[in-house]
């Protein structure tokens, strides 16, 4: 960065040198001296003509290079900061935090590039100019300092505050226009059916107008501050000329330097004029920096990192209350059940009842303030969250696939797995046919977030991945949601083997296949309202029975 500043100064100096030497050259030539007297100036002009462009090139290169390495450090720092956070903390506002961070890191580029080095260059150039001119007349100093103050401080500051004053409103107006547009497109059926189209169009147009007015106001501010800067440039050239003419008149300044001064001052403004435009990036950069540096510290500090010898799959929950973040209300209350090797527990209930939160609670993705979770008799606080997660193989509701090959995605669970281990889980998850049908087999890329595959295929890769992990407890969140009955049956058959010595917890939204469960928990509004085997629950004619009836009432196509 320092090198960039230095090169920036030299580039400006090169420009000043080129133009003032050129002016000196022709002024001198006008006095008709011998050619020899001009030769130094001629060489100088040619030298600066070439060097100035090269310096600018080098300056751009170093500034960008420094910026990118700073951004790399920032990116790593951000990740290291996010990594320990709980998923619920990261996924807040539908993952908005992530998007913001990505943009924020990018935004900082403008800060490093346009707001860090250029003001330093301007300052150094001003000091150098003052040093050179101080020998002539102090009046020059006043002119230059005032001009640089206007261009380098007043205009950018004015621009900044102008921008700041309108930015919030601009953001809100854009958001509201965006909302109207989404309404107009996604809600087109309702618009027509309820004759709402014209009204919405009216709203859209008036919001668009408001946006235009705001943008015009901002554009006006930009144009005006830039015009002020330019006028300062021409004005100070004029002042310098005026002063110099007086000096020439009194004989304090040789006439040869008259043109030189004008050119030098004019070209020196190259250092300070871009600052106004750069200040446009200030509010955004400041906001980005604020967000980045106020990233929450992870609040989870429990658990001394302990690596126990292989725990078996015995997990017991007693009267557990669970919440996703410290200030949220609990999503689970008074939950008790226990998992044992070979035992299968199903969790059913309406959507939003808290089924998936059970898995989050087991994985320590939140706060369990009341009750206790024990692993093989030892309290969960005894283990580090990492050690706890080692116990579980999870098939989440939405399997996340990385933009890599199928094989790499599965091997994530166990990078050292052998070919035969890989093949075993592939056949257990009924993926064999799919993989054989792909030209590149297991090396096929799955696309961004696995978009090249169907929901069912993603889910089966998730199952294969979970099986490869060989953890004693299997947690499945609606594992067959995207599978047809036939495939689901095949996957289930493949799972039997794995289920024999592991404990398993199944979340399901379809009340099928419940015969094979040792216990069914009916969750409603965060609590277990009924429990038992399928036969017991149906006999009870309670909540489960009602759900069962609803399911039977459904027509056989959807």
């Amino acid at each position: 960065m320092l090198l960039a500043v230095l090169l920036g100064c030299l580039a400006v100096a090169g420009n000043v040198g080129l133009l003032s030497l050129a002016a000196y050259l022709i002024s001198l030539a006008a006095l008709h001296p011998p050619l020899v007297a001009l030769s130094t100036a001629i060489v100088g002009v040619r030298f600066f003509g070439i060097v100035r462009a090269l310096l600018r090139y080098l300056e751009r290169y170093t500034a960008h290079s420094a910026t990118f390495s700073l951004m790399g450090m920032l990116r790593t720092w951000v990740y290291a900061r996010i990594e320990p956070l709980l998923p619920a903390e990261v996924q807040r506002n539908n993952g908005e935090l992530l998007t913001l961070l990505m943009q924020d890191v990018e935004t900082m580029r403008d800060f490093y590039l346009r707001l860090l080095a250029p003001p330093a260059v301007a300052g150094i150039i001003l000091l150098a100019a003052l040093r050179l001119l101080s020998e002539l007349d102090t009046a020059f100093l006043y002119v230059l300092v005032t001009a640089f103050f206007i261009c380098g401080v007043l205009c950018p500051a004015g621009m900044y505050y102008w921008q700041l004053g309108n930015a919030g409103q601009l953001l809100r107006t854009r958001a509201s226009l965006n909302g109207h547009i989404v309404d107009g497109i996604a809600g087109m059926t309702e618009l027509a059916a309820f004759q709402y189209g014209e009204k919405l169009t009216g709203q859209m147009i008036s919001t668009g107008e408001r946006l235009t007015v705001l943008q015009a106001r901002i554009a006006w501010g930009q144009a005006t501050t830039e015009a002020i800067g330019l006028f300062t440039l021409h004005g100070s050239v004029w002042c310098v000329l005026y002063l110099a003419v007086r000096l020439v008149e009194t004989g304090q300044l040789p006439g040869v330097y008259l043109a030189v001064l004008v050119f030098a001052v004019q070209s020196g403004f190259e250092a300070v004029l871009p600052l106004t435009a750069a200040s446009r990036y200030l509010p955004e950069s400041a906001a980005a920096a604020k967000r980045l540096f106020s990233l929450p510290e992870s609040a989870v500090s429990q658990g001394r990192a302990q690596r126990e010898d292989r725990l078996n799959g015995t997990v017991t929950l007693e009267r557990v209350e669970f919440r996703y973040s410290k200030d949220a209300s609990p999503v689970l209350k008074n939950i008790s059940f226990s998992l044992r090797p070979g035992r299968r527990i199903a969790v059913v209930g309406p959507s939003g009842a808290g089924k998936s939160s059970l898995i989050a609670a087991l994985l320590q993705f939140g706060y369990c303030d009341k009750g206790c979770i024990t692993f093989a008799g030892k309290d969960s606080t005894y283990f580090s969250p990492e050690a706890v997660r080692e116990l579980f193989s999870v098939v989440p509701q939405q399997v996340y696939l990385f933009h890599a090959s199928i094989k790499e995605n599965i091997l994530l669970a166990k990078p050292t797995a052998s070919q035969s281990e890989l093949e075993a889980v592939i056949s257990q998850a009924a993926l064999g046919e799919l993989i054989d049908s792909l030209p590149q087999g297991v090396d096929t890329l799955v696309g961004q977030q696995g978009q090249a595959l169907s929901g069912g295929q993603r889910q089966r890769i998730g199952i294969a991945r979970a099986l490869l992990k060989e953890a004693p407890v299997l947690l499945l969140d609606e594992p067959f949601a995207h599978l047809d009955t036939l495939t689901a049956g095949r996957v289930l058959a493949g799972l039997q083997e794995a289920l024999r010595e592991r404990s398993s917890l199944w979340i399901t939204h379809q009340l099928t296949g419940l015969e094979m469960m040792d216990e069914i928990l009916v969750v409603y509004q965060g609590e277990i309202v009924e429990r038992g085997t399928l036969r017991e629950l149906l006999a009870q004619q309670g909540m489960f029975w009602q759900m069962w009836c609803l399911q039977q009432d459904r027509l056989p196509f959807e």
Binding site: L25, A192, G197, G208, H234, L555
Partner: protein, 575 residues
């Protein structure tokens, strides 16, 4: 890079366009005059021994010219923005009209995200084209030209130098551009992959944690960032290189001009005043050319946005013709669908083939069939979003197309499968059913729909803002708001898609009760998903492959032992 269609937009607002050209010219002339007076003053004082009082008038004029130059530049920028605003407003309105006229069916072929993006970002991308790129093109054409003419009058040799070096700039730009294009394309691909990877890791953080692999990613990201900056730099290097060439041409020409006139001055082939004038204008001559390079991107994104905007605007679309008959107040509604066939324009297989049935007042008709059977096409025909190619739909004995479409749609209350909530308050969302309704009427409708209780629990009750970015509601709650709309509208024909809300017995019961209330005394078409609904219907229409397989009451159809019977029997096992 001068897009014809965009230029045509500019011509619609020719007064602004003309102003931009005039102001560009004014800036050029001011720059020339400024150089003229500067050289006059300097030369006078330096060589002719003029004193301050002798040049005082010139100095004042110089100040005025400088002011004029700045003012013209200022106006030029404002005019550019104004032109951009006018055009943006125009295009936005035309796009909106087009999209709304295309309606939900033709509009549904476009992706929602794509359309939203076009209306927001696409339109915004037009701005830099008119606000910056186009004025810059004018300025680039006008200022060097003005300078060239004035230099020609003073010193022809310099003009020749400028004339020779200036075209070098575009030539070099094109040469480097061609060289760079291929390389930068490869690099950008790599870049987007790397930045995608970073995003991938963040998005998949939970998964990484599940497998205990999240911490090692810190190192991976550091390494990736390094590769990222190296790749970006190598792309930028090309951009820097073209800037280097531009500046090199400009500075070397300035040096050439300076040395040339210096030598001629030495041998008295030129006056100092003229020489100074030429030297003053040389940097100004190259500046606009260099600035055009930096606005190139603004031009490019404008043109690519225009491509998408005009792609949509120029799409063929002729709305169906409707008549102007109106309905009597409080009229009942009998709808007869008679041998209706419909085929989407871009498909060969008909979506509906000779479909017939009658909807009668006070009767409930259940429409069932697998997805793709033609249920939504049928609904779209009934609402008037589509018009059948064969057969007819008659309302109270009159062809549907003879009515005014707006009047007809006022007769329908629609509850779609996934209702859309708009970005406004709960009350206004319900009020879509009847814009003039009082709050009391809205509350009554909400109560009838079983929505009042949960609305009362919302942060601002009926004033809570819903929709994109507003309060999020559950599926069952959204459905109840849609029912409230239908209650408020109180139209004679009710079209309802009965999507179930999952396994929530409490919600399901609430919805059932409200739907039953809503259906009373109306002509009802219900797209059924549940056996109990079908059982209680007065008529069941079984649709498959675009054809009516059979119709009748539950008992009739069971007796017939046709498609309906097999379907239920095969799945249910028992009835």
């Amino acid at each position: 890079m001068i897009d014809k269609r965009l230029l045509r937009e500019a011509r619609r607002h020719s007064q602004w366009f003309l102003l931009i050209i005039l102001l560009g010219l004014a800036v050029g002339i001011c720059a020339t005059l400024q150089a003229d007076y500067l050289s006059r003053i300097i030369s006078g004082v330096f060589l002719e021994g003029l004193r301050l009082q002798d040049v005082r008038d010139w100095l004042s004029i110089l100040l005025v010219i400088a002011g004029g130059r700045v003012l013209s530049g200022w106006f030029l920028e404002l005019a550019g923005h104004q032109l951009a605003f006018e055009i943006k407003r125009d295009l936005r309105q035309r796009l909106l009209d087009k999209i709304l006229r295309m309606g939900p069916v033709a509009g549904a072929s476009e992706q929602t995200g794509e359309l939203t993006n076009l209306l927001l970002e696409g339109i915004e991308n037009i701005e830099p084209y008119f606000a910056r790129y186009l004025p810059q093109v004018c300025v680039t054409a006008l200022i060097p030209l003005t300078i060239l003419v004035s230099v020609f009058l003073r010193d022809k040799i310099t003009m020749v130098i400028l004339l020779i070096t200036a075209p070098l700039i575009p030539v070099f730009m094109i040469l480097i551009g061609k060289l760079a294009e291929k390389k930068s394309k490869q690099q950008w691909e790599y870049l987007s992959r790397v930045s995608g990877h970073f995003f991938d890791v963040l998005e998949g953080l939970t998964t990484l944690k599940l497998f205990g692999r999240s911490r090692e990613q810190i190192k991976v990201i550091a390494a990736m960032s390094q590769g990222f900056s190296a790749a970006t730099l190598s792309v930028l290097k090309i951009a820097f290189l073209s800037a280097l060439v531009l500046e090199l041409v400009a500075t070397i020409s300035t040096a050439l001009v300076a040395v040339g006139i210096g030598l001629r001055l030495l041998y008295s082939q030129i006056y100092f005043k003229e020489a100074l004038f030429v030297l003053l204008l040389t940097p100004d001559f190259f500046l606009p050319l260099r600035q055009l390079g930096s606005q190139f991107h603004a031009g490019l994104s404008g043109v690519s946005a225009a491509e998408r905007i005009y792609g949509l605007l120029n799409r063929d679309f002729t709305p169906a013709k409707f008549g102007d008959r109106t309905f009597a107040e409080e009229a009942d509604c009998t709808v007869a669908v008679e041998a209706v066939s419909f085929c989407y324009p871009d498909r060969d297989k008909a979506a509906l083939k000779r479909v017939s049935f009658v909807l009668k007042p006070g009767e409930k008709t259940a429409l069932i069939g697998p997805s793709g059977a033609g249920k939504s096409t049928l609904v779209n025909l009934l609402i008037g979003f589509l018009v059948q190619q064969e057969g007819s739909i008659k309302v109270n004995g009159v062809r549907l197309q003879d009515f005014s479409l707006l009047e007809w749609q006022k007769q329908i209350a629609l509850v779609p499968q996934t209702p859309h909530l708009f970005c406004c308050s709960v009350a206004d969302n319900i009020r879509m059913g009847d814009e003039t309704a009082t709050l009391a009427a809205v509350v009554t409708a909400a109560q009838a729909a079983g929505a009042h209780d949960f609305i009362q629990a919302l942060p601002a009750r009926y004033d809570t803002i819903l929709g994109d970015g507003g309060q999020a509601l559950s599926g069952g709650e959204v459905k109840r708001i849609a029912l409230a709309r239908a209650f408020l509208k109180n139209a004679p024909l009710l079209i309802l898609d009965e999507a179930t809300t999952g396994l929530d017995p409490y919600n399901e019961k609430l919805l059932d009760e409200s739907v039953d209330r809503l259906m009373q005394d109306k002509t009802v078409l219900i797209i059924a998903h549940r056996l109990s609904t079908v059982r209680s219907a007065d008529q069941i229409v079984v649709l498959a492959g675009g054809q009516v397989q059979e119709s009748g009451t539950h008992h009739e159809l069971i007796e017939q032992k046709g498609a309906y019977y097999t379907m239920l029997n095969g799945f249910q096992g028992s009835l």
